[in-house]
Symmetry: C2
Subunit: 256 residues, 2 copies
Amino acid sequence: MSKVIAIANQKGGVGKTTTAINIAASLAAAEKHILLIDTDPQGNSTSGMGIGRENLNGSLYNIYNGTKNIEEVIQNTELNHLKIIPSNIDLIGAELELIAKEGRETILKRAIEPVKSRFDFIFIDCPPSLSLLTLNALVAADSLLIPMQCEYYALEGISSLIKTLELVRGSFNSHLDIEGILLTMFDGRNTLANQVAAELKNHFGDKVYKTMIPRNVTLAEAPSHGKPVILYDIHSKGAQSYLELAKEMMGNENGT
Amino acid sequence: MSKVIAIANQKGGVGKTTTAINIAASLAAAEKHILLIDTDPQGNSTSGMGIGRENLNGSLYNIYNGTKNIEEVIQNTELNHLKIIPSNIDLIGAELELIAKEGRETILKRAIEPVKSRFDFIFIDCPPSLSLLTLNALVAADSLLIPMQCEYYALEGISSLIKTLELVRGSFNSHLDIEGILLTMFDGRNTLANQVAAELKNHFGDKVYKTMIPRNVTLAEAPSHGKPVILYDIHSKGAQSYLELAKEMMGNENGT
Ligand SMILES: Nc1ncnc2c1ncn2[C@@H]1O[C@H](COP(=O)(O)OP(=O)(O)OP(=O)(O)O)[C@@H](O)[C@H]1O
Ligand SMILES: Nc1ncnc2c1ncn2[C@@H]1O[C@H](COP(=O)(O)OP(=O)(O)OP(=O)(O)O)[C@@H](O)[C@H]1O
Ligand SMILES: [Mg+2]
Ligand SMILES: [Mg+2]
């Protein structure tokens, strides 16, 4: 059973990378075979996992410009069950080069095909835009995990994300669905956060994960040590909440 | 004396829109003539100023596709001295349409020219990417204001922003300089924040504003009322810190 999940939201700074790294690591700790693909030219998933962005042997850019195959760019991480396809600023070049390319929307989907069965989950960390890189991730994905900060601008942006999802479903990927909406940096003492959370649950029902990720400084500290939070401080609220999310996701997969 | 300032940082969620709206409003309250240009397809500066993104009479997209001139898209706001050029999701179309256009990097610069002398400051709120929309803003700008969250990924990203600034300076806009680096959502109790702040001051010296914007929930609440924070709650720490920043910016202009 292999599932490709795009982690996307065009609103910036809502916890896409933090979620990608930490859900991938938490599931790998539970002995699931995981591939993390960094499709953001910022390369935050890459550096957050302790991989230098400068002298990469291979990166996602090589897939887009056809100079390497997927086997050559998959790298190991500190966790046995977690592999990564890193990225760096070169990926910006792919955006412009893709425009005129034949089948530009399905490059990532076709590249993943030969390795998909080896992994239980493949997570794709997306940049904060509805660009061709994000489009490739949505076309390649079985479902979309949407990290949501419970604030006004993030709530405002969700409608255009859903519209994009429907467009992709209509033309490139008929079975694409919402995997779940994850409330991030959640502070229960804050009225605005509670209002936004209520609105999301009202609108999306069960699609909103029961697990909420609290604002927790260890989640912001871990990347400066190049480690997922379960390797940096497993007892922190941040680590515990992502381990809980991993359990919830595995439960959803087994239909429990 | 008229200055065009781009507010840009490709890292998402660092406070670009919050800074654009609130510095524009604070300077307008000090009777400076201000134009705020929203060049992010998310349209957060537009809705944060209480302007509906759906039925716009005119928007920045009209400038990029040549269907209206700048006079037709400048709108009033609740503050007399603050005008805005709004945006919405249509602007995404401009990104793709610009690729093949002659002089695609200087469209915004040429559009602003006829009205520049009417304003003391023109602020451009940029999307979280180094795309053609951001490039147009950097080519049109006299200087770049960089909002910085004091966290690891934001610090990591600043080097590619500076590289982009140097590229633009080299080919399109020789006098483009850093206006200032603004520390946003700053929490002095947090070791990571203090470390990052120290590193920025060490590297950029006087370019780092003395004014720091604290994390303050009224700044996140104000946009849901469609108001800049000085009209929502002028006594809040958020409002006071942007008024202070306005004073510091005016002092810098007068050379004091
Ligand atoms: N639950 C949390 N508690 C505290 N800090 C957090 C939390 N989640 C993320 N952060 C921090 O907030 C910032 C934004 O998170 P992150 O970079 O993961 O968001 P993003 O959506 O990937 O951003 P971008 O849009 O730039 O890709 C980062 O500095 C991160 O370390
Ligand atoms: N000083 C602050 N204190 C508390 N909340 C803040 C502060 N500054 C901004 N925010 C909130 O943090 C979130 C991110 O800020 P904002 O949207 O202004 O960043 P941005 O850089 O414009 O994001 P994007 O990259 O998506 O354009 C928003 O929900 C905003 O209301
Ligand atoms: Mg990210
Ligand atoms: Mg913004």
